[in-house]
Every structure is written in structure tokens, then in C-alpha cells.
Amino acid sequence: MIDFRLEQREHVSPWLVFFAPIGAVIFSLMIASILIILAGVNPIESYIKLFVGAFGSKNAIAETLARATPLILTGLAAAIAFRAKFWNIGAEGQLYAGALAVTFFGTGLIQLPSFLMIPFLFLVGALAGGLLLLPLVLLRNYYKVDEVVTTLLTNFIIILLVGYLLEGPWKDPMSLGWPQGASVIDEGVLPQIIPRTRLHLGFIISIFTALTIWLILSRTILGFKIKAVGINPSASHHAGIPVIKTIIIVALLSGGMAGMAGVTETAGLKGYLTLDLSPGFGYAGIAVAMLAGLNPIGIIFSGIFLASIYVGADAMSRAMNVPTYLADVIVALTVLSVLISIIMLQFKIVFGGQKRDI
């Protein structure tokens, strides 16, 4: 095998930290261009189509930002959990839990004026997402049941539950056979922020959420505890940090934000619950979080960037006959290239003989 080893860097320049994710993105786009060539089209032309599709008009920009809304929220859900090394991969299920809560409370059961109704829907959506994760975090903390697998499996259970409700008791009788939920009442619908586009208030709320999480993580004791627990749980325990309690709070916040993504999609984008409400926003949130280096402010930008890939790929696919799955490939490549960039920031790769300083 190639003889090399990784040597810890002593100093990392902040510029390098800033440019590493950009390098990772460029690297991913270069690898993905091989696939575009295989599809028989010109990659540069395709990427131009993609860019125009995502940012080329007022409508395109609005669509990109609307798509970024749930991605920012699921990205935050992944980031806060991963910072504490709590591997919540169940944002997809928690998103649907939030959407279920909106459908339960927001389609006529509770009627409040708009300025109360909208916060109320976000509250119940966040609670639903958080509460879905609660039994799993308790199982992890008290029975050592691995949360990676339980959160993943729960995604499938919740989506089946949504399927049952939409085909059965919650089916909107007005929907002509389509399995979809009743419409959210007018007071609960998130208003458009650019007229005649699909961009709604949820986008602003997602940015405020990102800022709030940034404040919590960087300016509060809770943020410090989360960081400490993520770096070394046993040392944190000895230092008097309540590790289990901190992880439970992290889980509630993480599930809560994923639940909020369900609210923005149900009460904002669509107006009602459908089975295809989320084309994998929960999983894509992991890519959003990784690309931002788990930084909440960075997540606003990485969320918009990955949203532009998805929205732009639709346009590119229509124009160039490249399967839309290219967007998913680019997102996956981004996750892996970010991992390379993280390693390169931490370590220097040294080729050649092993140095042993005994």
C-alpha cells in the first residue's frame, strides 16, 4: 500500500477554514461533470443552465429560497445534534411529525387570529418533532440503544403512518382521490413574502432560527455544554456537566427544528399535507450541516446553495436531458468532499517512511 500518515496541523489559517467548503463544492461539481459528459452533454453548458434555473429570474430565486427553507431547518437539526455527537438521522420522520401536528391542529380544530395561529403551528410542529425523538434519546441514554438505527427506522414508521392517515381518516374528501390532508385554515397559512411566488414567511423564520441557534451555541452556557459533551462526554461528566440532560435538550431542539421544517412545508409551501411533502429534506439536511461545518450561520448559505442545486437541476434536466438524480449525486459528493476538506484542515498528509519518535 501507499505509505503515508496523517500529521496533526499545529496552526490552521482562518482563510483555509473559510475556503475549504468552497473547494469541496468545486471538487464535487468537477466529479459530477464526468457524469454529465457520460450523459452526452456539455458540462459547462449544463452548469450554466443549472445556475440560470436557480438564480436566473425573480421566480427562480424565490423558488430556490423556498426550497432552502426546510433545508436550513433540517440542516440546523443535524448540526446541533452532530455537535453533541448525537446522531439524529431521523429528521425526515420528525419533519413529517411536524406536518402531522399542523394538519391535526391547523385545519380547523383550533382557530386563532393569524399572529397567534402561525406561532402556535410552529410550536406544535416543533413539539411533535421533538417528542418523536424523545423516546429514542431516552432509550439511548438509559438502555444504550443506538440512536442511529432507531432514528433511521422511525423515519419509515412515520411515513407509513402518514400514508395511513392520508388514505384513511385524514383524507381530504375534496381532493378527488389524491391522498392529501385537509387544507390549513387561512389564518395559519404562511403569507408570501414576494408576491406571486411560492416564497413564504417560513424562509424568514428559518433564518431567525439559524441566528437563534448560533446565539445559543456561541453565547450561552448551554452552547458550551453541547460543545463539551460532543468533544468528550466522560470528561464533561467529570467536570460536572449533566451529560444526559444536555443530550436530551439537544435532541428536543434537533427534533424540534426538523418538525418546524414540516410546518413550513405544510402551512407555507403546499397548504396541506401530502405523502411527497419532503423529497428527502431530512437526509439532505445532513449535507447542509456538513457543508457549513456545523455552523448555524453557514447553514443559511449552504442551505441556499444546495437548494439551488436541486431547483437548478430540475431546469437543467428539462433542457439537457440529464436525469434530475444528478442533484442528489452532487449533494452526496459534497458530503464526501467536505469530509476530505475537514481531514485536510486537521492534518497534513505526509508521504514516505514512518517517523517514530520514541
Binding site: A39, F82, V149, T150, L153, L161, P323, V335, I342, I343
Partner: protein, 316 residues
Amino acid sequence: MIFDFVEILFTAGFWAATIRIACPLIFATLGELICERAGVLNLGIEGIMSVGAMVGWMAVYQGADLYSGILIAAFVGAMFGLLHAIFSVYLGASQHVTGIGITMLASSLGFFSFKLILPYSTTPPKIEPFQPIDIPFLSDIPFLGEALFQHTPFTYLAIISVVFIFWLINSTPFGLSIKMAGENPMALEAQGIDVLLVRSMAVILGSALMAVGGAYLTMSAFDAFYFGMVNGRGWIAIALVIFATWKPERALLGALLFAGLDAYQVRAQQLAGAVIPYQFFLMMPFLLSIVAMIIAAKKTRYPKALLIPFRRGERH
């Protein structure tokens, strides 16, 4: 009514279905088990199964014979295993994030290539899959013959792999180094064995098995490929590894038990008719996996070095 539910257990069809449903899980669970035994959690499993299902099927659809289809799926799985190993073993990156990234990459690449090769197919095209072969004499035994000895060659391959992996882990020097790489990599290095190489080989072999498990779906259980057909089987396999306490023979048992419950619920569903909505039956495998993990949790002892990257020349 109750009698009908018990009677299911006495039909050979039920037992034959149990084995059929168990096969992809057997391959996948064995694959994950080898990776974890060597100290690497492989969350790429779901995507690797998906790409294996696509590639094996596509190879046969393009004219390869069925056995070459299995080999091609295994090779593609091994390549994703190599990629996983470069990240998780050689670079020492987070095994969680690497695995999720590999799952995303493998499944999206699989879907992308499927759409690229067959852009206009609306109804999934079909192949001629593996056919059941009757094992001489044994298949004539009443009940047992139909339950156990009238399966496709791919099914028998699953059983053979259990024996092979059992032998590999318990009786070969390579198996011993895999176990040491997962329990005490420093000691393995002290023996002059390359820990990174052993771990990588385990991940590559394990990923090949996962892809073969996926290929079983399109080449033996069904005859077509469609998106989302793996449907969480990879994640269930990870739960089964824990349930099996990282032992191949118990992985077989766990997969069979699990498949038995699944085969049973399909038949019970037909009896129960519209009383219980079908979605609740479909939830069962996922709920059962969580329950299995809770049951196993008390005696769960993870390989000691699982999730811990090994860096050469670094003392722990």
C-alpha cells in the same frame, strides 16, 4: 378464526417465504457484521444494497448471465466499500458521516445510471430471474421438501455464505485479524499486521456482500428494479447485527426469525382483511427491529474499537 392464524405456521408456503424474505437480510447482515467486527460501522449499507440491486439487474437486462450479474453487483459493492475504507479507515473520517455520504452517493448514482440507460421506461422492464431448482430426493420429502429444498440457487448461496463467513471469522488467520482490528488494533499492529489494510479488506468484502443482498431482490425475489425497493432493509440489517451480537450463526437465526414474522404478517394481513390497515403491517419490520435492539441492549457488547479511527504511529 384463531385457528386460521395458527394454521399459517403449518403451511410449507409460509416457511418457503420466510427463507426467501430472509435472504437479502442474510447477505446484508453478514456484510455489516464483517465491517463492524473490524471496527468500522458501515452506514453505506442501504445505498450499497440499492446500487447492487440496480447493477445486478441491469447487467442481466443487458445480456449478462445471472451468475455474472451477481459478480458484477459484488464488484460494484466492493468499489463502494473501497471508497468507504479510504474515508473511514485511511483518512480516519467520521464513520457516521462517511456512511451516510456513501449511502447517498451509491443510491443516487444507481438511480442516475438507471435513468440514463433506460430514460423512457415507465413500467419497470423485467428480466428472467433465478428459477427454483428442486434438490434431488430432498425436495420430494413432504412439507420439508417444499419448505427447504425448492429454492433458487441464489437462496442456497445465502446459506453457503453464512457457513463461509462463519469459517472465515472463526477459523482463519484473516478472521482473527479482523476481530483484533475491531477489538484491539494496537495489539494487531504490534504483531506486524497492517491494521488499516485488514479493516479495509473487511469493509470491501462486507460491502460486496451488501450489494449481493440487494441483487437478490431484483434477480431472485423479484424480476425488476424500481426506486426505493431496498426500503430500509439495510437499516434493519444493522439492527440485526446488534441482535445477533456480531456472530454469523446468530445473524442467520435473527434474519430467519425476522423474516418469519414478516412472512407471517403478510398472511395474517390477508386473513384480517380490511380490519387493520395495511400500513400498520408494513410498519411491523421497523418496529420489530427497534424492539429487537431494546431486547438485545442489555447484553450488547460492541467491538471495543468500533467507530475509533486507527492512526499509524499514534499512541492511544
